[in-house]
């Protein structure tokens, strides 16, 4: 096997040094009754070429562009990824390194993450960002737990328009804790209805997503005012599409205490849902309550600038059960990809690209509206939007799949109160012709 360098001669020499007769004799500390009785039943080892053939065959069973036109967003978005990002990320000095425990030989990773943290604070309008969490869902769960630690309150409020799968993760994380999760309903405008929210002083935080799961942009300024009517309650903004902040006001400028969400849009392939990037940023005052790794700037003994993992007294390897989180491995390479992507776009590029994304979805939304379909929410959207199709649309949906078009995602399984409602997405990768074709197909 080409990954195993030992010759029979090497093995014999090494066994002699150790003073045992066979490889099996190395395992004498495993008691006889603990030894495995049967051989591993695994497929016969494939050559590199057999593996390529096998994997290409499996990949060919997947519906992806350019064969298929997929109008699903819902927390995983199709964006062009510059070749530069792919090539630079393939530098194996980056991808075959461990967590930078020895900073003198990890400055590449450390500066890259420090820059990622910096660009993230600028994108989200907050003071400090961590080196990443697993995904948008666990970022949110950790943010809610953080607000409970800070306020010592036992109740959180989260919008029903936060990604339904994120809310499921929150429920899982919260199950053994005894903390209460209150869900804020959906208003007629497709935004979070906060009118019923009272006794703010009992809530550790209120969390909303913007743009929300329906693509609608939330009125964060109004939320902020109400939430901060109690000085301790934290305002958490979740997101699935950070590119939106290329044109929209960012969470920090609207008074968010914590912004957390999914960064897959920033140069990371969808890869059937992972690995993505949990982004996490907060106001400076909450720095020591944050979960996750942090890279900080410092000096070496000669006074040269360098970087280290810092504030580790928050972390599990020092604080053990009193840590701010149990996270150890994060999504470091994805954070590096996101920084590379943000660097290729730059301030000028991200504005233009975000505007283009907005235009594409707005075009498709307008087209469907003109074709007579109901657009139930009259609220500005980014990248995706809800449309109500006729009752018999299920048949059309199936029919379109056979024509290699995936016309969005049904909202009904997660929102039974919205039958026949679908969530459609169009980013910069969607051509006008494909959108025109979709509308032609659904109207025919």
């Amino acid at each position: 096997m080409r990954y195993l360098p030992h010759t029979q001669e090497d093995i014999a020499d090494m066994l002699k040094t150790i003073g045992v007769d066979s490889l099996n004799d190395l395992f004498t500390t495993i008691p006889e009754d603990c030894r495995r009785k049967t051989d591993l039943k695994l497929p016969k080892a494939k050559t590199e070429w057999e593996l390529n053939h096998h994997m290409s065959g499996l990949a060919a069973q997947m519906a992806v562009c350019p064969d298929y036109t997929v109008f699903i967003g819902a927390g995983s978005y199709d964006h062009y990824i510059p070749e530069v990002v792919k090539q630079l990320l393939s530098r194996s000095e980056f991808y075959t390194a461990y967590t930078p425990y020895q900073p003198e030989m990890s400055q590449g990773t450390l500066q890259a993450i420090y820059e990622y943290q910096t660009l993230t604070t600028r994108l989200l309008g907050l003071d400090v960002a961590n080196a990443s969490m697993y995904d948008g869902a666990s970022s949110l769960a950790e943010a809610l737990l953080m607000s409970i630690r800070i306020t010592r309150r036992k109740k959180v409020a989260i919008s029903r328009l936060i990604h339904p799968l994120y809310r499921q993760v929150v429920r899982t994380y919260f199950a053994p804790t005894g903390f209460e999760v209150v869900e804020l309903p959906v208003s007629d405008s497709g935004q979070t209805d906060m009118t019923g929210l009272e006794d703010m002083e009992t809530f550790a935080c209120v969390a909303v997503q913007s743009p929300n799961y329906f693509g609608c942009i939330e009125n964060l300024a109004a939320f902020e005012e109400k939430i901060h009517s109690d000085s301790k309650t934290l305002f958490i903004v979740s997101f699935t599409e950070p590119l939106a902040y290329g044109v929209l006001k960012n969470p920090g400028s609207l008074g968010a205490d914590i912004a957390c969400g999914e960064g897959q849009s920033l140069g990371i392939p969808r890869s059937f849902g992972g690995p993505g990037l949990g982004m996490f940023a907060a106001k400076k005052g909450y720095m020591r309550n944050m979960p996750g790794r942090l890279v900080g700037q410092t000096l070496d003994i000669e006074g040269k600038r360098g970087f280290v993992l810092t504030l580790s007294t928050r972390e599990q390897h020092i604080r053990r059960e009193k840590a701010t989180s149990n996270i150890c491995s994060n999504q470091g390479l994805c954070a590096t990809a996101a920084a590379m992507y943000m660097a290729t776009l730059g301030g000028t590029g991200i504005r233009k690209l975000a505007a283009l994304n907005h235009d594409k979805a707005a075009y498709l939304q307008g087209l469907l509206k003109n074709a007579g379909f109901e657009i139930p929410f009259d609220t500005p959207v980014f990248n995706e939007f809800v449309v109500k199709f006729p009752k018999d649309f299920k048949k059309t949906y199936t029919n379109l799949l056979s024509k290699k078009i995936v016309p969005g995602l049904s909202l009904t399984p997660d929102y039974p109160e919205f039958p026949d409602h679908y969530l459609l997405c169009a980013t910069e990768t969607m051509d006008k012709a494909d959108m025109d074709l979709l509308v032609k197909e659904v109207t025919s």
Partner: protein, 484 residues
């Protein structure tokens, strides 16, 4: 004497991204707009982020230079204990980047995602075969999330029996993530000391285990690199009191094909695909931490589960006792592909990999025992733990030895862990290092030990060949500067 690999060369400085570039540049090929522009209302518009404007060349030079300040498994030997820094096969990268897999949307109708679902299903089957535990969830995104998932399973299991157990036994050799993960589920950790032989004694477990204790979290082989030889008896003790046994599988690389975790009485085990199954660690992640469980705990696994029904792969949420979800989608699928690719490339030679990993570790142990203090003198598994006891006379410590190894061109071992060993040097060579590499590493350590006697200043000043020298970590923590 042979010339070592550590040398110096031209290293290029590189400023911050935002110190480069000029307003108006762009490193991105902006698509043409083929639809009418549709302005947003003014009150929603922000200023946009203050990002530097860079050309494509600016970005390429920047990251290429940064990469040369780094050291990876591709650069050289990386014997970081408990981290299993084995070679990351290149073919795995090819498979994960196949457009059909890399571009796939996670919410595609399942009939349009059969390839990805087959990979997940087959990988689950293979991990079940390797561990001996029949049911697997690939959802946890890293080892620590696997631990959390395991603890949530403990919680759910006991709640089904109408029990809210509040304690969990955790050996003093455990990873720091274990108590932190248990705490997230409201379990108070009760430390169990390992005995003079570096393993858990059944009597000690028996004395602590009671009906208010949810179970035990064991790392086996443990972080001293020793097999927990009383594991069967310990499992029995825990089970008798209604508890469950969690095994941290971070060290699975020692025992593939050698033990069956179910036979040892393990109820839940997490694996680190980024350790045992060769996926790259990415300078901090992404990893992947599948959990493998007994039939008894299967109903509680995260949803959706990948099912194979009538020649079709499906995702099923129909498990009412499930703990729910720990990841928005199905975990780090891109990492799962790499582990699948590795297992298909290795086949039953995974057992050989474990044997050679143990061979390499014992070879290091025997070759270094005359120069370093060996706190537990018995055959080790895939890693061995030394201390700096013999070097203290020369006023040099584990940290100095580690830093000097960098000058010699090696990544240092894990240091000062496990905590039960003072001044620990924890070495895990892995099976992909050749005898020559091990011999070079041994020779480097011999020279360093000699330097400690003759000229300890060389160690105290180390590293001297790196782009930066020792860094002021106290300053970093006292005056945190986390963004530029």
């Amino acid at each position: 004497m042979k010339e070592g690999v550590g040398t110096t060369g031209l290293i290029l400085n590189e400023p911050f991204l935002w110190e480069k570039g000029k307003k108006g540049r762009m490193g991105f090929s902006l698509p043409n707009n083929d639809v009418p522009s549709s302005p947003l209302v003014a009150e929603l518009l922000g200023e946009g982020p203050d990002f530097p404007d860079l050309s494509e060349v600016d970005v390429v030079r920047h990251y290429t230079r940064l990469s040369t300040w780094n050291f990876g498994v591709d650069s050289g030997m990386y014997p970081l204990g408990s981290c299993t820094m084995k070679y990351n096969p290149k073919t795995n990268e090819r498979q994960a980047s196949l457009p059909g897999l890399a571009q796939a949307h996670p919410l595609l109708p399942t009939e349009l995602a059969q390839g990805a679902l087959k990979i997940m299903f087959d990988l689950q089957e293979h991990l079940a075969e390797i561990t001996g535990l029949p049911a697997v969830s690939l959802q946890p995104a890293a080892g620590a999330q696997g631990e959390l998932t395991g603890m949530l399973l403990f919680y759910a299991f006991h709640m089904m029996n109408k029990e809210r157990r509040t304690k969990i036994l955790i050996p003093d050799t455990a990873h720091g993530t274990n108590p932190a993960s248990a705490a997230l589920c409201g379990f108070r950790s009760v430390p169990v000391a390992s005995n003079a032989q570096g393993v858990l004694a059944p009597d000690d477990v028996e004395a602590l285990m009671d009906e208010d204790t949810a179970g035990i979290m064991v790392t086996n082989p443990n972080t001293l690199g020793l097999f927990e030889e009383h594991i069967k008896q310990i499992s029995e003790i825990v089970h008798t009191k209604g508890g469950l046994v969690y095994a941290d599988g971070a060290n699975m690389n020692a025992v593939m094909g050698m033990v069956n975790m179910a036979d040892l009485g393990v109820d839940v085990l997490h694996l680190n695909l980024h350790k045992t199954f060769s996926t790259p660690h990415g300078g901090g992640g992404p990893g992947s931490g599948p959990v493998c469980v007994t039939k008894k705990l299967e109903p509680f696994l995260p949803v959706p589960r990948v099912m194979h029904v009538k020649n079709r792969y499906e995702l099923s949420y129909d498990f009412p006792e499930s703990i729910g979800k720990v990841h928005a989608f199905y975990g780090n699928f891109g990492i799962q592909i790499r582990a699948y690719s590795y297992i298909l490339s290795m086949g039953d030679q995974l057992k050989t990999a474990s044997q050679l990993a143990v061979l390499n570790a014992n070879y290091l142990k025997e070759s270094l025992r005359d120069i370093f203090h060996l706190p537990y003198d018995k055959p080790c598994m895939h890693e061995c733990v030394f201390t700096d006891k013999h070097q203290q006379a020369f006023k040099v410590s584990t940290l100095d030895i580690a830093k000097r190894l960098i000058d010699y061109g090696f990544h240092p071992p894990t240091i000062y862990f496990p905590l039960v060993v003072q001044g620990a040097l924890m070495m895990e060579p892995t099976e992909t290092e050749s005898k020559e590499n091990l011999d070079d590493f041994i020779e480097a350590l011999r020279q360093i030990v000699q330097e400690a006697k003759d000229n300890p200043e060389l160690l105290l000043q180390a590293p001297i060949k790196t782009k930066v020298r020792r860094l002021d970590e106290t300053m970093a923590a006292r005056k945190p500067c986390l963004a530029g």
